[in-house]
């Protein structure tokens, strides 16, 4: 009898200890960790650039799906013309384009430039997007493929001319990273192929290595630059395109003001046909104006 009583007390004590276990849960003030909310999740790093173009070059950034980016690009004459041409502002070359955001990592666009009356189109796709959290990638890798169609009358109408002679293509890989809120950098190996070149000594395939970056000065202003180094060199009279710009964001618009030695506004034109030389003051003022339109609205309800 005595033994049984003692045993019961022992069991009772044991149960009391067992009670304290669950009691400990009351002290826990982080309920969210119970549903795994404290674990980091994979998240895409967004807004590396304000626009889908650094200045001339494509950026690692995509426009949002369901939106259209109407872009008006202006390049004025070269500054070294002085006051007689109002430092180049009397002349302007332009490109108008429509870019469409199809998926979060897929966009396509079409544009037309006054320079060579050229039409261009491109598709841009990112198989890898920079992200944070588990299974993340430190960089965005985007692929761009484009075509340009020269619209000028044939230089020599007396000979046999083919439509394909008007065409040029470009393929580009963009490897970019947003290092911090302020700094984003990217490199862009690029190949431009021209079906027809001016001289027999000119190359049909031009390999370039592009560099681009952005440094945010404030929430709505950023310094940008892009440069393409043509690996095999360029024919005499042509130079590597280098541009410096200032992005200003005002609500629905992004203004990209810049100075550049390039006149062309598609890859074929600015990589292979930049005739200005920075050292000679042959740079020009220009701006890109980007206006976003929401074509497809997501359902909020």
């Amino acid at each position: 009898m005595h033994m049984i009583k003692r045993f019961k007390i022992y069991i009772g004590l044991l149960l009391c200890v067992a009670m304290l276990g669950p009691l400990k849960m009351f002290a826990q003030d982080d309920l969210l960790s119970l549903v795994g909310e404290d674990k980091p999740t994979k998240q895409r790093v967004k807004y590396a650039f304000k626009s889908s173009r650094v200045i001339n070059s494509h950026s690692m950034e995509f426009i949002n799906p369901g939106t259209m980016d109407f872009r008006i690009l202006h390049r004025f004459g070269s500054l070294d013309q002085g006051y007689k041409n109002f430092f180049g502002l009397d002349q302007a070359s332009m490109r108008m384009s429509f870019d469409f955001g199809l998926l979060h990592n897929l966009m396509a666009g079409v544009g037309r430039s006054t320079f060579k009356k050229e039409v261009d189109a491109f598709v841009k796709y990112a198989p890898i997007c920079q992200s944070t959290g588990p299974g993340s990638s430190p960089v965005t890798v985007a692929l761009v493929s484009g075509i340009t169609v020269d619209g000028l009358p044939w230089a020599d109408p007396t000979r046999q001319n083919y439509f394909t002679s008007r065409l040029a293509y470009y393929n580009q890989v963009i490897i970019g990273r947003k290092f911090s809120e302020a700094l984003s950098l990217q490199v862009m190996p690029t190949v431009v192929h021209k079906n027809l070149v001016q001289l027999a000594t000119d190359k049909n395939d031009i390999v370039g290595l592009g560099f681009g970056g952005r440094l945010k000065l404030s929430k709505r202003m950023a310094l940008t630059w892009d440069y393409t180094y043509v690996v095999d060199g360029l024919p005499e009279g042509y130079f590597h395109p280098l541009s410096f710009g200032l992005d200003i964001e005002t609500g629905g618009h992004v203004f990209q003001l810049h100075v550049s030695n390039a006149n062309g506004m598609n890859e074929r034109a600015f990589i292979t046909e930049t005739t200005g030389q920075w050292g000679q003051g042959q740079v020009r003022f220009g701006f890109n104006l980007s206006r976003m339109f929401q074509l497809k609205k997501p359902k909020l309800d």
């Binding site: 019961k8 009772g12 149960l15 009391c16 067992a18 009670m19 669950p22 009691l23 849960m25 009351f26 003030d29 982080d30 309920l31 969210l32 119970l34 549903v35 909310e37 999740t41 998240q43 790093v45 967004k46 807004y47 949002n64 799906p65 369901g66 939106t67 955001g101 809120e181 929430k219 709505r220 005002t250 609500g251 629905g252 976003m292 929401q294 609205k297 997501p298 909020l300 309800d301």
Partner: protein, 186 residues
Amino acid sequence: MKNSFLLLLLLTLSPILVSAQKYFTKSGRIDFSATAPSSPEKIEAVHKTVTCVLDAATGQLQFSLLIQGFTFERALMQEHFNENYMESGKFPKAEFKGAITNNTAVNYSKDGDYTVTVKGKLTLHGEAREVETTGKIAIKGGKISASANFSAVLSEYKIEVPALVSDKVSKTATIKVACSLEPLKS
């Protein structure tokens, strides 16, 4: 003797039963609006993957959400919301940690509607502030619907509204919470 043993057993099990009385969701909804009265366009967004956990025993209530998860009708507005206002790169989450102050008035085991007062700390844009509001709790078939409305003064959370858009973006945001919670199996 037998009775005391049963009592002991009951006492032992009761905290286990109580600790099982936690409810949660990962698909709560929050509607956000910061449309100024004079604004020609609506500045509002919806979030449909809000996490909420409620401990029925203590009345503790916690919310968490990713700022990037807010969807706006216009993607550009969403971009500005993330980039310029909420700075979601720096402050990816918003959190509320608080409690139902009149929790004893709620009988979680019976169907019914209750008005509750919720008090706690809201962390937004890296700034924590005390908030208090009244909400509704409806219990039906072991599930809980919780809803509440409250407002947040943007400047208190160091969210700047530039003068350029002050006719569109209100200085105060209204936040509408609606969650249906299910029992959490631990």
